[in-house]
Symmetry: C2
Amino acid sequence: MSDAPIGVFDSGVGGLTVLKALAGELPGEQFIYLGDTARLPYGTKSPETVSRYAVQAAEALASYDIKALVVACNTASAASLPAIREKLKGMPVIGVIEPGADAACRVSKTGNIAVIATEATVRGGAYQEAIQRLRPDARVSARATQLFVALAEEGMHEGPIAESVARHYLTSLFALPGAPSGAGAAPSALVPGGAVPAVPDTLVLGCTHFPMLAGAIRAAIGTRVRIVDSAATTAKAVRDRLGSLLRASPARRSSVRFLATDSPERFARVGSRFLGQTIAPSDVELIDL
Amino acid sequence: MSDAPIGVFDSGVGGLTVLKALAGELPGEQFIYLGDTARLPYGTKSPETVSRYAVQAAEALASYDIKALVVACNTASAASLPAIREKLKGMPVIGVIEPGADAACRVSKTGNIAVIATEATVRGGAYQEAIQRLRPDARVSARATQLFVALAEEGMHEGPIAESVARHYLTSLFALPGAPSGAGAAPSALVPGGAVPAVPDTLVLGCTHFPMLAGAIRAAIGTRVRIVDSAATTAKAVRDRLGSLLRASPARRSSVRFLATDSPERFARVGSRFLGQTIAPSDVELIDL
């Protein structure tokens, strides 16, 4: 059983940032990565649709005799973990939201935490709930930063345009110079008791595309804010959770098998940037869900 | 038969720019608009997948007893018109590419025409072929400007960021100041005989989202270039094509029924901007394809 692969699922190529962290944290493991590229993005879809698609993808990965499933997509984690666990009874299923929320609660000094994510993730409130469950005194503000997804996919994740977009989204969230007055209370701020929040000291990148934009985000918000990238924290959570299910002698290098529901060529081209190493189109198998 | 509605299909809300033009050109007609919002965007998908989805959508619209179908999506028009016509035997099916290509050939003085569109439309080469079929001396250069879609959907279609993105994409296509030398020959330029092309005098907006960005595009390329928006030209083509199938006495106002495959709330919110008038979420029917 410990020789079985670990399934990794995302709506597209964003989850490759999580796969990269997993391969670093769990040397010698085999991975099967499925990107549902025919139906991406999930981030603008309703929770019902996301959950239906994610369950189909999880069942497809389960048919490859995986020992565990990592849902490497914030939107799918927010919408579908209970439904996936119900389908894959007994199999460890790890999402990216709990590990990210946990890391944010640990690194934040003030408990004032900002989350940026897709529309669907923000609207669903999963990060806000997960953070406040772990740290009831936390003040969480969240903002959908949908254009970051397109910038990352388009390879425009750094430079003046990416930095302008980062300022556009983050100025009011962090009350940066140029923000309208009273802008500390972002549109979807959840502030118990209605107190005016101080500026967040921690920013959660609540979408697997966003680590690509870390430089532009850092340029916008400065160096004082702690940035939590759920890829690294999820990889550690997977290691802790799997324990004895991991390979005993990880002498071999990690190996990955790539599956996609559309265009292996595009998966390889865009995905190589996210993984940080070249994927050949011929290494990507086209499957139908 | 002339009282039957006209079906209008798009991958999402972009086609509402075409619907708006149709309603203006064909007063008194009834329209049924279907946005396949659960599976958008089509612009990054393979032609096979786009064609499969578009045929399903066309069949769904045909079940509403429409008298004609307008494929108000450039990507779907490029990939699926023959397959849709095969399925809907005998029904007039009008796409947006031929009308746009025709208009470009008529307004261009030099025959040097630039096309901007989604990745899938550019890669498929449908505009390039349609233009050169109508005007064999034309020189066509095409560029995918994928981020325009996200900017339009996000409501960031005007202002400094939209203008920066427009300059990013269009500088080399139009050899604008700041373009690298020799940049007149854009990446996907089709130049018969290998001659160095002069700067295009006409720009085709080959995606139904792009009319939203006309101001930012104009700011980037200046006032001399003619911009062809296929929405208006398609509406005229539909009027010419349908002729006696149109209502004889168009005294009534146009009416529209909206169908979407996901989130009526988002369709209404984002779609209102594209249609230029408010759509209520309760006016959008959720259907499954």
